[in-house]
């Protein structure tokens, strides 16, 4: 059984980290090239369903009217809880935070449930612009995707254990 234990550890080491795989896509599109002063702004939120426990990533694309990317603007994300305007969060969106360096990204933790008003403020050479959207934050819940990789890992371990037992049963007596 020690050997099976080793198998289990190895498989766990392979599968369990995948359960926390960072999203490399853009997420849920909230704004699609909307006009914000002289700019065209697109915005995505990740994860798709935001809970109070999640770290929310807001990715912003800023383009001029000719659809060329603006890479040197100052992009600020402001979040206000709709039911209580004194609850606010603010974060600078930067290229460093973004996986795609054409975009700006800010991590935010919205720790109260309810509807939040997210405002993107852009300040650049062409002038200022703002765009906003609403986002619902819910209580933390068990998402099935969190359990997918560990479940697959455990299934693989169970299959291997079953085969190991079958093999031992079928092995002729006296054979090494």
């Amino acid at each position: 059984m020690k050997r099976f234990g080793l198998w289990l550890v190895l498989l766990g080491a392979t599968f369990i980290p995948m359960a926390r795989t960072d999203a490399h896509g853009l997420g849920n599109q909230k704004l699609e090239q909307v006009e914000a002063g002289p700019y065209l702004v697109s915005a995505w939120t990740d994860p798709k369903d935001v809970s109070v426990e999640d770290e929310l990533h807001i990715t912003v694309s800023v383009q001029d009217q000719e659809k060329d990317f603006i890479l040197d603007a100052d992009v600020q994300i402001n979040a206000v809880l709709a039911s209580d305007s004194s609850t606010t969060k603010s974060q600078q969106a930067t290229h460093d935070n973004a996986a795609q360096k054409l975009f700006y990204e800010a991590p935010l933790r919205l720790d109260k449930t309810g509807r939040w008003q997210i405002t993107i403020v852009i300040d650049g050479e062409l002038g200022q612009g703002t765009a906003s959207f609403e986002l619902d934050v819910v209580e933390a819940s068990n998402k099935w995707t969190r359990w997918l990789w560990p479940a697959l890992g455990i299934t693989a371990v169970v299959i291997i254990l079953a085969f190991g037992m079958m093999y031992r049963k079928n092995k002729p007596q006296g054979s090494k």
Binding site: R3, H24, Q29, Q63, A99, Q100, L102
Partner: protein, 296 residues
């Protein structure tokens, strides 16, 4: 260099889950290679090590570089990513004999246990042989490839990271199985794969890949409407992006199968020539023996 290209080249995402899996596989393989090399085993040669490392390098490039981060913005970048994994990384890794060499990289008790699991009479091996027969693998590979290129499935994978990871695992896993048969790599669990069978297998895989590439390239409508909603890079409109992606799948994607078929045909000709020479030699020897008997 324009700002968009510069941003693309700087967009590396150090995904530790990918790095962890790649480093684990590389360390097991290199340990096995070194152990076998010390024992003087011919299988552990320089080109196999290079083939494995280059194959793993292609996976890292496909998943961690700008190709991995911009696949959600450009369809053709996504197709390049899949081709790197399925047409370049998978055959290079299979040519490196990962199974026998990798087994030698495991701790001895684990290696022996694995060898027991995979011996000729073990149920696990029988199961592997049954589910990886060439026909079954071809069907699964084709269904998997076409299913993920359905507009709805494609959009789900592009916008949901877990589904996207499953898609990549299935693409890479089925590609490894396809190249296992095509390259006749170890472990040789199946009955002898003749050159003729391997040529037919590669041609059948090439054909369905060709059809999918042509279908995407020739489609007058935008199949993957998701790309119309994201900002366009380098001024490439969504439909043109789709045409380029289809062409990439059609030509460079199919090229690897084309090369493989040519290599296999040349080997088949060499083999037939050698067989003919052996037959001629045998016939000559028999004639000489017959003459000798007659003379005596």
């Amino acid at each position: 260099m324009d700002a968009t290209t510069e941003a693309f080249l700087r967009s590396w995402e150090w995904r530790w889950d990918v790095i962890f899996v790649l480093l684990t596989c590389v360390s097991i393989y290199v340990t096995g290679w070194v152990r076998l090399r010390r024992r003087g085993a011919k299988i552990a040669n320089g080109w196999r090590l290079a083939s494995y490392l280059v194959g793993m390098g292609f996976i890292a490039l496909a998943l961690l570089s700008g190709i991995g981060t911009f696949e959600s913005l450009l369809f053709f970048i996504h197709m390049i990513q899949h081709i790197l994994m399925m047409m370049y990384a998978a055959p290079l890794i299979m040519l490196a004999a990962p199974m026998p060499i990798g087994m030698w990289g495991l701790p001895r008790p684990l290696r022996l246990q694995l060898a027991k699991f995979l011996n000729q009479k073990s149920p696990l091996r029988q199961l592997i042989v049954t589910i990886t027969k060439p026909g079954i693998i071809w069907m699964f590979y084709t269904l998997n490839l076409w299913m993920w290129h359905d507009a709805e499935m494609y959009e789900r994978a592009t916008t949901h990271s877990t589904i996207h990871n499953i898609q990549h695992l299935l693409f890479f896993g089925t590609a490894l199985a396809i190249w296992w048969h095509t390259t006749d790599a170890a472990p040789k669990f199946h009955k002898h794969r003749t050159y003729g069978k391997r040529i037919m297998f590669a041609a059948a895989t090439y054909f369905q890949n060709l059809l999918l590439g042509i279908y995407i390239t020739m489609s007058p409508e935008l199949i993957y409407t998701y790309y119309a909603t994201v900002p366009r890079m380098w001024g490439i409109e969504a439909h043109r992006d789709q045409v380029i992606g289809g062409l990439i799948m059609w030509i460079p994607g199919g090229m690897m199968y084309g090369y493989t078929i040519l290599i296999l045909i040349s080997r088949l000709m060499d083999y037939s020539e050698k067989q003919a020479q052996i037959k001629a030699k045998r016939a000559k020897l028999q004639r000489q023996q017959a003459k000798g008997i007659a003379a005596s």
